[in-house]
Amino acid sequence: MNEQALIRAHACEAADWVGELTLLLRRLPGNEPGMRAVRMITARIADRLGQALALERVAAAEPGLRVDAWSALELIEELEHEAVALAGGRLAVQLAATQIVPLTWFFDRELVSLALRNALHAALAHAHAAVALGLELREGYLGFSVSDDRGGFPPELIEETPPNPEVGELNGNALGVHFARLVARRHVAGARHGRLELRNRPDGNGTCFTLWLP
């Protein structure tokens, strides 16, 4: 086994344990802030591990996606259920499909789920009172959105600049955003590529993360 395969095996083993831990934490009683924080941190670790393993796969081939026809609404519903459980009653979780969306859309379910889950977990960690998930069809793109009522994205995150790990920029939200941009870009239909849109509310009291897929 080469070193790369060994690294992968270690990460997969860690993912197995985190999987077990995730299920275990759900069945433990308690909804106090400490327990909510443990569950949230576990979810964030799961995000990073999942993204690391997915990035390795995506990096190996171009476009490296497993695109098939999936129900976007079912995916968003899964995230909604998870959000309600993680919020533990602290936040309101809303699901908004702004119009009738197609029954199926072509995308890589795991990658899109990882990108959205990361945005959702960040929103749940920082929102004051509410988090919303949405679907919107616009000009041949399907938008998967996560919005909240926290302060706002910093300008350097909204602007699409190439990541520079050497100066320590790639951490926290930037990691998730970089991953989501990669996932969006790899989704291609003809000449059209997916894109990530990050917006702040004009009043400065809320953010909206939207993954637009062709």
């Binding site: 197995d16 999987g19 077990e20 299920l23 695109v67 519903e77 259920h81 998870e82 459980a85 072509f106």
Partner: protein
């Protein structure tokens, strides 16, 4: 959907995960969840109880993995058409699960996942199975035109499953030989997106329509874009095999084995190609791997051991051949036919090694072990034994064995040519011709008579004739499966009967062991599963 009445079997080799999954299922409202740690235990459970859901981890430690369990369940009709199989995978094993076109699970969960996701995926998989169950049932009965019609109807009634129905319809069109329609359907899908299954289907349609080079290029390009798409490797291997291009088939298999090194069936194909092309070194390595890996598998087969022993014999590795044969006798020695085969090869090993006394002794042992109607000697072994008998002036036994080979394989031109060649080499060409002609004629006549009786509604008469024929030609897949078919047809009219069920199951088990890909076998397994399902029963 109410999950409370659903029976679930959970398969995971990690005790902690089993416990967590069980609690998660309880939280989903499921009270009847059984847990096992190995695929072998899962099969035991599935043989004794009907489950609505199987939730299995892909990686099950030593022994068969989740994918092998899934294939076994579907091949052996251990799951009802409405039951779902959901695979839990790590990122590393996803492709091996989802690219197995023929036996893909109903859904998959990549670890880590939450219990909410688990519940939603189970509900959706069950709902989807419920909608698609008629299509799966027709598919299992090989009623491909009916599958196409059902897909068209369901696409209108349940448009959310349109893509899945298109995929199933494409497969059915290919199986029905409606290649231009299949091509048009896959083209339509590809106009939406270059989905791998549609690219694969299109290439298969092209090949079937004679555009072999275009198909080869399409499959090669597909593999360049999706190097872990195992079904595409299999299609390309088959294309090369059909065009008698064994060298390229072997090269593609090697690539597939790099992606999925545990896929024993591919090692087996490598071994078979190598045997055919007399590449004995590769054959020895591949069959050695099959024997080693299958030590803990579902389908531990004496045949693989015997093939390996034959290769070792041909390579003059006498000690290793005898060692393999000794292991064969230790592991499968209770089966008379296996003992007979092993002794027959031993006879050849000793003869080639210049030990006529031990060779004669082994021949005696082979003939003694080979006696009895239930003894299955592979054609190749029976033929080798027949030759040894003629060479040792044992006319009666030699003729009986040659007759057995021809009667059991009356429609296999390649094997009949080998029989003819053996008689020619023994300077008995005329005797061989007469024997072949008579046995083939008899087998065809009995089969036709049995099928004719069944068609005229004389099911009892058909059963009597075909079962008698199945007794005298126990390896003739056509005849044995027609006997099972007649019994099933009888139960469709008169209801289930324990003795008939047990006979059908023994016929199915016999042909499964010898020719699991025979079209008549696949058809009968599907018919039997549908019969049991319509009567609310599980296969024994």
């Amino acid at each position: 959907m109410d999950l409370s009445k659903k029976r679930v079997l959970v398969v995971d080799d990690r005790p902690g995960m089993l416990s967590s999954l069980r609690h998660a299922l309880t939280a989903c409202g499921i009270s009847s969840a059984h847990t096992v740690r190995t695929a072998h235990d899962a099969v035991q459970r599935l043989r004794n109880m009907r489950y609505d859901i199987v939730l299995a981890d892909f990686d099950l430690g030593v022994g068969p993995d989740g994918q092998q369990l899934l294939e076994h369940c579907r091949c052996e009709a251990l799951l009802a058409p409405t039951a779902v199989f959901v695979m839990i995978t790590a990122e590393r094993s996803y492709d091996r699960v989802m690219s197995a076109a023929e036996f893909a699970p109903d859904d998959y969960l990549v670890k880590p996942f939450t219990e909410d996701t688990l519940r939603l995926r189970l509900v959706r998989a069950l709902e989807r199975r419920q909608v698609l169950a008629p299509v799966f049932a027709l598919g299992a009965q090989q009623q491909h035109d009916e599958v196409v019609r059902a897909c068209d109807r369901l696409t209108v009634e349940a448009p959310r499953h349109a893509m899945e129905l298109a995929r199933i319809k494409g497969e059915a069109l290919l199986a029905a030989g409606r290649y231009p329609e299949a091509l048009a359907l896959f083209d339509q899908m590809l106009s939406l997106r270059p989905i791998p299954w549609a690219r694969l289907g299109r290439a298969r349609a092209q090949e079937a329509m004679g555009e072999v080079e275009a198909a080869r290029i399409a499959l090669t390009e597909l593999l360049a874009d999706a190097p872990e798409y195992l079904a595409a490797y299999d299609a390309l291997v088959q294309l090369h095999q059909r065009t008698a291009n064994d060298a390229d088939a072997k090269a593609v298999l090697r690539m597939a084995l790099e992606v999925s090194p545990n896929a024993v069936h591919r090692h087996k194909i490598v071994g078979e190609i190598a045997l055919r092309t007399k590449d004995l070194e590769v054959a020895e390595a591949a069959l050695g791997t099959v024997v080693r890996k299958n030590r803990n598998g579902f389908v531990r087969s004496a045949d693989d051991h015997l093939k390996l022993a034959r290769v070792l014999l041909e390579r003059n590795k006498f000690a290793q051949a005898l060692e393999t044969l000794a292991e064969t006798k230790r592991s499968f020695g209770e089966v008379g036919a296996v003992r007979a085969c092993a002794a027959a090869i031993e006879c050849q090993v000793y003869s080639k090694a210049g030990n006529p006394r031990e060779s004669r002794k082994a021949l005696d042992e082979a003939l003694a072990a080979g006696q009895g109607g239930d003894r299955h000697l592979p054609a190749e072994t029976a033929l080798a034994l027949a030759r040894a008998c003629f060479e040792n002036k044992r006319e009666h036994e030699g003729t009986a064995l040659a007759k057995q080979v021809v009667s059991n394989n009356h429609d296999d031109a390649g094997l009949l040519a080998q029989v003819r060649q053996m008689f020619e080499q023994l300077d008995r060409a005329e005797q061989g011709e007469t024997l072949i002609e008579r046995c083939v004629k008899d087998a065809v006549a009995i089969n036709n008579e049995g099928v004719g009786r069944a068609k005229q509604g004389d099911l009892e008469g058909a059963i009597e004739l075909l079962e008698e024929a199945a007794r005298t030609m126990p390896d003739n897949a056509h005849i044995v499966m027609n006997a099972a078919h007649a019994l099933i047809a009888h139960m469709q009219v008169h209801g289930l009967q324990d003795d008939k069920r047990s006979r059908v199951e023994s016929y199915i088990a016999r042909i499964r062991e010898r020719q699991p890909r025979h079209p008549k076998y696949l058809q009968v397994v599907g018919l039997y599963a549908a019969l049991l399902d319509s009567n609310g029963q599980a296969a024994a």
